[in-house]
């Protein structure tokens, strides 16, 4: 079943891009994401069937647009590298060191993924959120309009911390339905939500890794004025696939299939 999923993903990649390298990288990323799910839920890898998933529906995971439309080779390499590090964390005894490596790695790759560094090493500081002219202009205007207050209070109330609020707002805007269905298809939002709910019900300390990584990736991606949605979701792919696969076993198959057909209708819209 895993092989069928990967083959489906690879075929769609070839159809979309006509480039074997991109196809291989995308398929590899999907494989690592599935492997993360298997490792994280303490199962053994089987290429002939999805662990815990009796349903052939799992093959449709191969049609997820995130792994069939991405074409930035560098970001795909980074995402695969991130999956490797996460898998290393799951298997190693040196948890603290591996977490440190993951954090440093994520901060580094997010500079590229968010467009703040153009390959190979061209820094784009004007893209930093703190350099947003509109925000800075309005901070100054809010201060000017508050002349009735003492200077210290004015500058305490209206200052560069507004950028943090903008970042949080952008973070909240990352996980819109549109972004999710463009990355995963509408049908897969259903198992994603199921998976999240199941994990919340069976919460344990190990799940903190998921929350930590999701927050870190999201936060490091919104330091740029123009948020690269696809790159963000590529870095988040092991966690997204984890929740989708976690929930896939408990979805109503007829509803899932109906949603899948609906997803295709939307995805193929002119």
């Amino acid at each position: 079943m895993v092989i069928a999923t990967l083959l489906l993903s690879f075929s769609l990649n070839i159809i979309n891009h006509g480039n074997i390298l991109i196809g291989v990288l995308n398929t590899l990323l999907l494989f690592f994401s599935i492997y993360f799910y298997i490792k994280f839920s303490h199962q053994k890898l089987s290429f002939t069937r999805f662990p815990q998933l009796g349903s052939p529906l799992a093959i449709l995971i191969g049609a997820i647009p995130l792994f069939t439309r991405a074409n930035d080779i560098l970001i795909l390499f980074f995402a695969i590298g991130f999956c490797g590090l996460i898998l290393f964390y799951l298997t190693t005894r040196f948890k603290k060191i591996s977490i440190l490596i993951i954090v440093v790695y994520l901060l580094f790759v997010s500079l590229y993924a968010s467009g703040l560094i153009n390959p190979p090493f061209s820094l784009q500081p004007f893209l930093l959120i703190i350099n947003d002219d509109w925000t800075n202009l309005y901070i100054a205007q809010m201060q000017t309009e508050s002349m009735y207050m003492p200077y210290i209070i004015r500058s305490l109330l209206f200052n560069s911390s507004a950028h943090l609020y903008v970042m949080l707002s952008k973070m909240a805007g990352l996980f819109t339905l549109k972004n999710l269905y463009e990355a995963l298809l509408i049908a897969n939002i259903y198992p994603l939500v199921k998976g999240l709910t199941l994990d919340l019900k069976n919460w344990n300390k190990s799940k903190k890794l998921l929350i930590f990584c999701i927050l870190l990736i999201s936060l490091s991606m919104v330091v740029s004025r123009s948020v690269e949605i696809t790159n963000t979701f590529l870095l988040l792919s092991p966690f997204l696939i984890y929740f989708v696969l976690r929930g896939l076993n408990s979805v109503n198959k007829i509803i899932y299939l109906a949603l899948f057909v609906f997803s295709i209708v939307i995805a193929t819209s002119p």
């Binding site: 309005y138 950028h163 819109t176 939307i266 819209s269």
Partner: protein, 529 residues
């Protein structure tokens, strides 16, 4: 008990704040407000609206037809308090305040949990968007009140077997349809969902058959009127397919299946915007210009965590009623998603109801979780206080300064000047443009001026149509082109401040209207002696 008292005091303060300085924030009656206010004034004097229609159901507004209660609700207030901003906005403030109270009753009826009821009322009371909507003569705010009241009465009737409540609930649902266009689709969906979710009880009792029949009968006049005005009504003019980008796509893809796909995708994209967390908790209230970082959502930002947690924990509080609230959450942005134009928070106002119920549920869980930890508790309360303080500052100070132009600020001030000097002029010519030379908007001074100057509505109902505007009584509302204008003695000319007359005309500025930020807005000229 202490927490409950604090919450009650805070709710009381937030309700009181809805009535303070109604003529300052928002800074001026908006285009829609003045349309409804003038129609109400006209009906109160002549039983006819501005377009000479006798007691209209759907009244002719600027560029479309307005809903009935938008006019008939502020009518009494205008009769009592006169033609001013307070009178126009007072009913909205009252209904907004009552919504806060009835949402609490609704939660109490659904959960029997006093604390949750208070938290929900508190959440709505301090909601930036509800606060803002309650200070506007906003028909979608009237509709929200009738929906909340209708649902509360429905459950009162259902749980306590009170027949009057059931009937009154369905009457309230009908009134919500008379209040705003969003409810034309939303309310029937709510009614159908209530019938579906509680069918085992409803289908056994005759009173529900009667109430549903009454609901249908009450809607006959508005739908008959709608059909009569089909060509120009909003329902036919604001569908998403009228969006410029969508229209272009539809023209490029004439096949019916492709058209269906395009419209479906556009609706889904819009639904996504309306349901996103950044819209609901960071920038949906749209109080300041969109580039300004000091934005607010429907609810204060710290409640975003409570909402997420509430989504998961809702059923713990609401048990069997949880499905109905999830359903409300799903359908509340539906109608707004089907309409053209930018994201519009008026149309998505009904989202306040399910999001408040869910966030309140989450807030109670979060509170129970952190209440034993002094630091976490202080942090939570601190964030909440800071958010509210920012909102208060932004709303009462920066909002009027930064958004006055959008409200056609200045026409009221012009009217007040004219009221005092009306007899000094033979003719008053008012340019319909406002803004500045970078971009002039077209305003509706022909509604503002007669409203604030108490002009006899009969004179407005029979206007003279000019080639580039209209005229009634001493007024002409048209663009002023100084090069072609015949300057006469005892004429008053009102223009945007940067349309400066040629010095050869010897016109002197008799009055200047400034925006709240002290930038000039309009200048009034007459011939120097």
């Amino acid at each position: 008990m202490f927490t409950k008292k604090i919450l009650l005091i805070l709710i009381f303060i937030a309700i009181t704040a809805r009535f303070i300085k109604l003529d300052w924030a928002p800074p001026h009656l908006s285009n829609d407000e003045i349309g409804a206010a003038y129609a109400a004034y006209s009906i109160s004097k002549t039983l006819k609206d501005g377009s000479n229609e006798f007691l209209p159901i759907l009244w002719q507004s600027h560029g479309g037809y307005g809903s009935p209660l938008a006019v008939y609700i502020p009518l009494a207030s205008i009769v009592i308090f006169g033609n001013n901003d307070f009178a126009v906005r007072l009913p909205s403030a009252i209904l907004g305040s009552l919504t806060i109270i009835f949402i609490g009753f609704l939660v109490k009826e659904l959960t029997k949990n006093d604390k949750l009821a208070l938290v929900t009322s508190f959440l709505l009371a301090v909601s930036p968007w509800h606060f803002s909507a309650s200070r506007w003569a906003l028909e979608s705010n009237y509709a929200l009140f009738f929906i909340v009241l209708g649902i509360y009465l429905f459950f009162l009737g259902l749980n306590k077997n009170k027949q009057w409540a059931t009937v009154a609930g369905f009457v309230s649902f009908a009134l919500s349809i008379y209040s705003y266009y969003t409810e034309w689709i939303l309310t029937p969906l709510i009614v159908l969902s209530l019938i579906f979710f509680y069918r085992t009880t409803i289908l056994k009792k005759k009173i529900y058959y009667f109430a549903i029949l009454l609901f249908g009968i009450l809607l006959i006049p508005i739908f008959v009127n709608f059909i009569q005005n089909m060509g120009s009504s909003r329902a036919s003019s604001e569908f998403i397919s009228k969006d410029i980008a969508i229209r272009r796509l539809l023209a490029e893809h004439p096949k019916p299946i492709e058209k269906g796909q395009i419209i479906l995708k556009a609706m889904l994209d819009k639904y996504s915007s309306y349901s996103s967390l950044d819209y609901l908790f960071f920038n949906g209230a749209k109080i300041l210009p969109k580039e300004n970082p000091y934005q607010f959502g429907f609810f204060l930002t710290p409640f975003v965590f409570a909402f997420i947690w509430g989504l998961y924990k809702l059923k713990n509080h609401y048990k069997g009623n949880g499905s109905f609230i999830y359903f409300l959450l799903i359908i509340s942005p539906l109608v707004a998603s089907m309409t053209e134009g930018e994201i519009n928070n008026w149309r998505s106002l009904p989202q306040l109801l399910p999001v408040a119920l869910i966030s309140a549920s989450g807030t109670l869980f979060v509170w129970d979780f952190i209440k034993k930890n002094f630091w976490l508790k202080s942090l939570g309360i601190g964030f909440l206080l800071i958010s509210f303080m920012y909102f208060f500052l932004v709303y009462f100070r920066h909002f009027p300064l930064q958004r006055a132009i959008g409200y056609q600020y200045g026409y009221k001030q012009i009217a007040l000047y004219i009221s005092e000097h009306y007899d000094e002029y033979e003719k008053i010519i008012i340019d319909q443009r406002f803004g500045d030379k970078n971009y002039y908007y077209i305003g509706v001074p022909s509604s503002y001026i007669p409203f604030y100057t108490y002009l006899d509505p009969v004179k407005v109902q029979n206007p003279k149509i000019l080639p580039n505007g209209i005229a009634f009584a001493k007024y002409e509302f048209r663009n002023i082109n100084w090069n072609g204008e015949k300057i006469r003695k005892n004429y008053l000319y009102v223009v945007p401040y940067d349309i400066v007359p040629n010095p050869k005309y010897n016109l002197k500025s008799v009055h200047e209207v400034k925006l709240p930020n002290w930038q000039p807005a309009f200048k009034l000229y007459s011939l120097a002696n």
